[in-house]
Subunit: 324 residues, 2 copies
């Protein structure tokens, strides 16, 4: 366990933190907030009775409710952790009940569409500061969360112009305390950066897995058997939550289509190199991409361990322990 998360704060940053939507991210935030003593009172709100029951069993909140409207009254920090497609409706529902001076944030993977969906519903006295922690696994639901999910990952804030500076600083502290590095940018830039680093990679992973499933000449059993040749790397991200990802593509359409257009152009060039036997062109590209990988490892966003140690239950268990 990292030293960073060992010591809880002497005095909490917030009095009443309400997490609306308790999936992978929401439940990880509750766990991290309790471990670090970031809020005096932790409230989990979820519209699903089954999720509420499970969160109660897990014991990761002081209060569990399906009534988000009642939960947010008197809260000084509310974080919407629902899929992006549901955020506008949730904001409309809770907006009249938000206290003056509350910080309202979210964790959505797109920001432009979230701002458009949420901002119109809010009273002026609410500090709305959208956020996106760039962290996650391919699992979903309250059981999938863990307190170190955000450790050494980046959290992007996209505060609107004119928002209260001290509110931004306070939300920034919150994310620092759960272990993240914080960066500030505009919603439009966020959406382009994430289109290339996350959304289009997911899209092409989903696509190749679908193409493989549809190939008549190769059986599904063969695809699975021989997946160690590279394919399985794609299936991991193609196993991510379908609703979350549907919403991301519908809500970051322009940036995704822009990046996808470039991807397609580049792929056509590569396809042509293969057809015409341009070995030098292929070798040049493959050398260049190798260097980028080295930078990612050097900057701590990946471990250098070969093949992620996927070779046996031992290493799997070790990594699970390391992450709880």
């Amino acid at each position: 366990m990292a030293d960073h998360l060992a010591q809880p704060l002497a005095a909490p940053l917030f009095e009443r933190l309400v997490i609306v939507g308790v999936g992978l991210i929401g439940s990880s935030l509750l766990r991290a907030a309790r471990q670090r003593n970031l809020a005096r009172h932790l409230v989990a709100a979820d519209f699903s009775a089954a999720v509420c029951a499970r969160v109660t069993e897990l014991g990761i909140a002081d209060e569990v409710t399906s009534d988000a409207k009642a939960a947010v009254v008197n809260a000084d920090l509310v974080i919407l952790c629902t899929p992006v497609g549901a955020i506008g409706a949730v904001a409309a529902e809770i907006a009249p009940h938000l206290a003056s001076g509350v910080i309202l944030s979210d964790v959505g993977s797109v920001k432009g569409a979230v701002v458009s969906a949420v901002q119109p519903h809010l009273p002026a006295a609410v500090h709305f500061i959208p956020a996106h922690p760039v962290a996650g696994t391919e699992y979903s639901g309250p059981d999938a969360g863990f307190s170190t999910l955000f450790l050494d990952r980046w959290c992007i804030l996209t505060p609107p112009e004119g928002v209260d500076i001290s509110a931004v600083a306070k939300l920034q502290s919150f994310w620092s305390e759960v272990g993240s590095n914080v960066e500030v940018m505009t919603p439009a830039h966020h959406d382009l950066v994430l289109a290339i680093t996350s959304h289009v990679p997911h899209l092409i992973a989903y696509n190749i897995v679908g193409t493989a499933a549809d190939l008549e000449a190769v059986t599904q059993s063969e695809v699975i058997k021989f997946s160690a040749g590279g394919f399985r790397d794609f299936t991991r991200i193609a196993a991510s939550d379908p609703t979350m990802w549907r919403d991301i593509f519908l809500n970051n359409r322009d940036a995704v289509l822009e990046v996808l257009g470039r991807f397609n152009e580049d792929l056509a060039a590569l396809q042509r190199m293969i057809r015409w036997g341009d070995g030098q062109g292929l070798h040049d590209l493959f050398t260049r991409t190798r260097a980028i990988r080295r930078s990612i490892i050097a900057q701590g966003q990946e471990t250098p361990s070969a093949d992620f140690g996927r070779r046996g239950p031992d290493s799997g268990e070790a990594s699970k322990e390391g992450s709880q």
Copy 2:
């Protein structure tokens, strides 16, 4: 360490095993062969003096030489582990020196082109049985190898019609002893299966990393910082050996272009769903791909640990130890 590899054989399967080309795969074979006592005499042949020097230091062979012609005399098993593009030239060079009854094999990731490049050079008394262990990491060179690389992975044999059955059985035993499951198929079917499970996934991974590097509006530093959102999964396979991969694409052109054509069609359909807001179509695909992931985990070709436990040096070390 798996029980399977704990006990060396009482009597070796082969008298003299020559590995030509000592990179990741060749050095892993030498290590596994020694650990399991699969050959009485282990010979490493490599045209690079630097590689020979390093292999001597590593102590993973009984004999190290840059003269493959001399090395193969009296060998009863020769495995060519060079990049696919060099295999034909190597075969032409050693062919006159091969003993009658020797088993000649390889580990190339394409099989049709290897058969065409090698077969014409061989005397009739040589049993040529191409092979492809579907195993590897993104690292290369003799230091990158380890004895359990092939454990629980699949090795595909593509014996030509009319080849000696007992020679096939003996090579099959060799691969079983290093821990692999063995499957037999035709070279053409192999090349199509690998195009979808390995070659096209690598190609699109190389491509997305290249696209990201060229995006003017997003800095390379941003791509690296926020790579945890999915991009880093692609950089791992886009860091694989450039020469090996150039050779694969040049030598499996037809199958790669066929699968790539289907990938492009499917991606165009997906792109259209995003443009027209077809949420149901996206959700359906994303649900289907999730099920394929579950099958891969169920069949032991992947661990279920979230995110491969990439969250700290601890888990990285544990998995390295597990794999040596």
